[in-house]
């Protein structure tokens, strides 16, 4: 494979039409906080956060709304000043439309920052762990969409002895341009954030990988990084899914991350460029993550572009702020068109991991009729992980999930390349999502069965012990009774004897 790639270039991945411009070239707009914000408590990977405010409580922008719960979790902060109107369930930004717990905030329109923010003039004077702590306190999560709590990643990279920090400016998904825009607008802040992350992780060098379809971003970042020798900015071929961790690391460092392990295995860690900016805001100004830059794009959007949106704003408010629709949208998507989630409706909130809101219309969603697999092998060529999507799908169709796992289902990154190139329009990636979800459910069921088995055993032991104790008590009672009986009998004989004596004594001679 290595040799082939050297001579013929990369063979994996696809080249979808990127649709990034004109949205990427439009000036960034800032959306004021709408009247009501719905701040989801499950905006990160791991356990949902635990609310720490009460209904009716007044909060300022940046005040803590919810504490992290469990080892993998992140804090949630108020995106604007206002009053907590409710804590309850709202529809989640998820294809299922299932409810999620959220804090509803009624904005007061003042947008006042909290006074309690810990700003530092020189964060490099702090201990590296202190930076991780501040990042954790600010509730920063991976901005690329995976939403893994960044502080945990910083701390664990330090422990694992990571040497290279890979900054992901790939943004390979079509339509999305928020990372592009951020790098053009705030290159200095990102480079500062990268240096802070280097300091926190103990890595010696950072490589920023940017796809070559973003020349302005590459130029801006290179100019900003010039002063720092430890940060290099590299142009990488534009190809989907270049922004995927494993592909990016391999392209930039030539190291392949082994199946089923983390990038730390090969001494690297990958962060999104947006995360660098959030880390900087947290470490330097103590500002929590309460807003994010996201792309509003798609054929149905009148004025596509990038907007700084407060976390918790409803998708319909964001779309209205962006200028409304030019056509009736056929489908709303949060994230990119390849890996994003199709939304059931627009009354769902923006979360920390939302990189874009797409309102697609017309030809963008040509519903294609599924045909039979003709075994052309296009999906095998497209798969960036080197898997056999057609074989895996065939096993899943035949309900042989184990067979699919043997073929490497667990390594599938759900990029959707296979479904994109499929001549027969087979929804391959949906099959894999279904299989992975089913396998996860089976694992959960197994854990549950193990736990209940322990309970059943404990109950059996308890019942046995109760029976034993009861038997012991009964035996003791019996012994006591018998002893009493014996004593009584002895007493009786003694009395009888006395009576007899008395009788003998009292008997007339």
């Amino acid at each position: 494979m290595g040799l082939m790639e050297k001579f013929f270039g990369l063979s994996w991945g696809i080249h979808p039409k990127d649709h990034k411009r004109p949205a990427a070239d439009a000036v960034t707009r800032i959306m004021p906080a709408p009247e009501r914000l719905y701040v989801s408590l499950a905006q990160h990977l791991g356990a949902p956060a635990l609310p720490s405010v009460l209904v009716g409580q007044r909060v300022k922008k940046g005040d803590l709304l919810a504490n992290p719960q469990g080892s993998v979790s992140a804090a949630i902060h108020a995106p604007t000043s206002g009053v907590v109107a409710a804590i309850g369930e709202i529809p989640a930004p998820h294809p299922s439309g299932l409810p999620v717990l959220a804090v509803t905030l009624a904005a007061d329109g003042l947008d006042e920052w909290s006074e309690a923010l810990e700003a530092t003039p020189d964060p490099f004077a702090l201990a590296p762990d202190e930076i991780s702590r501040r990042v954790a306190a600010a509730g920063v999560v991976g901005m690329g969409g995976a939403t893994f709590p960044s502080a945990l990643k910083l701390a664990s990279s330090r422990k694992a002895g990571v040497t290279t920090l890979i900054m992901n400016g790939g943004e390979c998904e079509p339509y999305l341009s928020c990372d592009d825009r951020l790098m053009r607008d705030e290159a200095d802040a990102i480079i500062d954030g990268i240096r802070l992350m280097l300091y926190a992780t103990g890595a010696s060098a950072a490589i920023v990988g940017i796809e070559n379809n973003k020349p302005e971003a590459i130029a801006a970042m290179q100019a900003a990084a010039q002063a720092y020798s430890e940060v290099s900015v590299r142009s990488i071929p534009a190809r989907y899914p270049m922004g995927s961790e494993k592909q990016l690391v391999q392209t930039l460092t030539g190291k392949e991350i082994p199946a089923g392990s983390l990038p730390a295995e090969v001494g690297v860690v990958v962060h999104n460029v947006g995360t660098a900016k959030a880390v900087r805001a947290a470490a330097r100004y103590g500002q929590p993550l309460v807003s994010r830059l996201l792309t509003v794009n798609g054929g149905a959007v009148k004025h596509p572009g990038n907007i700084v949106v407060p976390i918790g704003a409803l998708v319909e408010d964001v779309l209205a702020f962006a200028g409304g629709f030019s056509a009736t949208p056929g489908r709303l998507v949060m994230g990119g068109p390849m890996m994003g989630m199709s939304l059931p409706h627009a009354r769902v909130p923006v979360v920390k991991g939302s990189s874009g809101i797409l309102a697609l219309a017309g030809a963008e969603l040509a519903d294609r009729e599924e045909g039979a697999c003709i075994r052309c092998g296009s999906c095998v060529r497209a798969c960036p992980m080197g898997l056999l999507p057609l074989e895996m799908a065939r096993h899943i169709q035949g309900d042989d999930l184990k067979g699919a796992v043997k073929l490497g289902l667990k390594d599938c990154i759900a990029c959707g390349c296979c479904a994109y190139v499929c001549q027969s329009h087979i929804p391959l990636v949906q099959y894999f999502a279904y299989a992975k979800g089913t396998l996860a459910a089976e694992d959960r069921a197994k854990l549950h069965a193990d736990a209940t088995k322990k309970l059943a055993l404990a109950r059996g032991e308890r019942l046995a012990q109760e029976a034993r104790e009861k038997a012991e008590v009964a035996a003791r009672r019996k012994a006591e009774r018998e002893a009493a009986k014996l004593a009584e009998a002895a007493a009786k004989t003694a009395t009888a004897a006395t009576v007899k004596t008395v009788e003998t004594e009292g008997a007339p001679a």
């Binding site: 065939r394 096993h395 169709q397 035949g398 042989d400 067979g403």
Partner: protein, 195 residues
């Protein structure tokens, strides 16, 4: 040496016991659902076939021929085969309970696998010596195992595809194995039998 190789190729491929002589079809249809159990079955049959061929040669030459009891041939051979199968069954039950379970009834049924008795009788018919009898039996067993494994692999794939309802299950398996038999017919073009 080359003669031995020719014998092995001719028995395993050209005169394949299953697809050309049509012996031992019962386990071919019965234990070919998964490749794992097919390999186990193939190994068990190879063991039984080779050992039974040796035992039957000895019985034939040292007992039946010397005492003039040729009419007892099938009876004594079956006795020997049944004993070897019983031994194999005990051995597999001890060493690999999973395989024992998956082979199920087909394991004791090796006794009635006509390939085993057939090869023993063919040996007598051809008048081979002890060594060549064993080689002939081993070659046949390798051919049996090969076909069983190829067929199990095919069936594993067939299980995943949509087959018209009228053909699903045994019918498509029969069609597949007949195509396989046609393919094996091609080996007769090797024409090494007469050399």
């Amino acid at each position: 040496m080359s003669e031995l190789l020719l014998l092995l190729i001719s028995t395993a491929l050209v005169n394949n016991v299953v697809l050309i002589k049509f012996l031992g079809l019962c386990p071919i249809m019965g234990v070919s659902r998964s490749l794992d159990s097919a390999i186990g079955m193939g190994m068990a049959t190879t063991f039984v076939l080779t050992l039974a061929a040796a035992a039957s040669w000895m019985l034939e030459h040292w007992l039946l021929m010397s005492l003039g009891l040729g009419f007892l041939r099938i009876l004594t051979f079956i006795l020997a085969i049944a004993s070897v199968v019983q031994f194999t069954e005990m051995f597999i039950k001890k060493t690999s309970p999973g395989l024992y379970q998956s082979l199920g009834i087909y394991l004791p049924l090796i006794t009635t696998n006509c390939a085993v008795l057939g090869v023993a009788l063919l040996n007598v018919q051809q008048g081979y010596g002890l060594f060549w009898s064993i080689a002939y039996a081993f070659g046949s067993a390798v051919g049996f195992t090969l076909v069983l494994m190829i067929f199990a692999g095919l069936r594993e794939r067939i299980a995943l595809v949509k087959v018209p309802a009228a053909f699903s299950g045994a019918p498509i398996a029969f069609i597949t194995i007949s195509l396989l038999a046609l393919a094996f017919m091609g080996f007769s073009g090797l024409n090494i039998q007469e050399q």
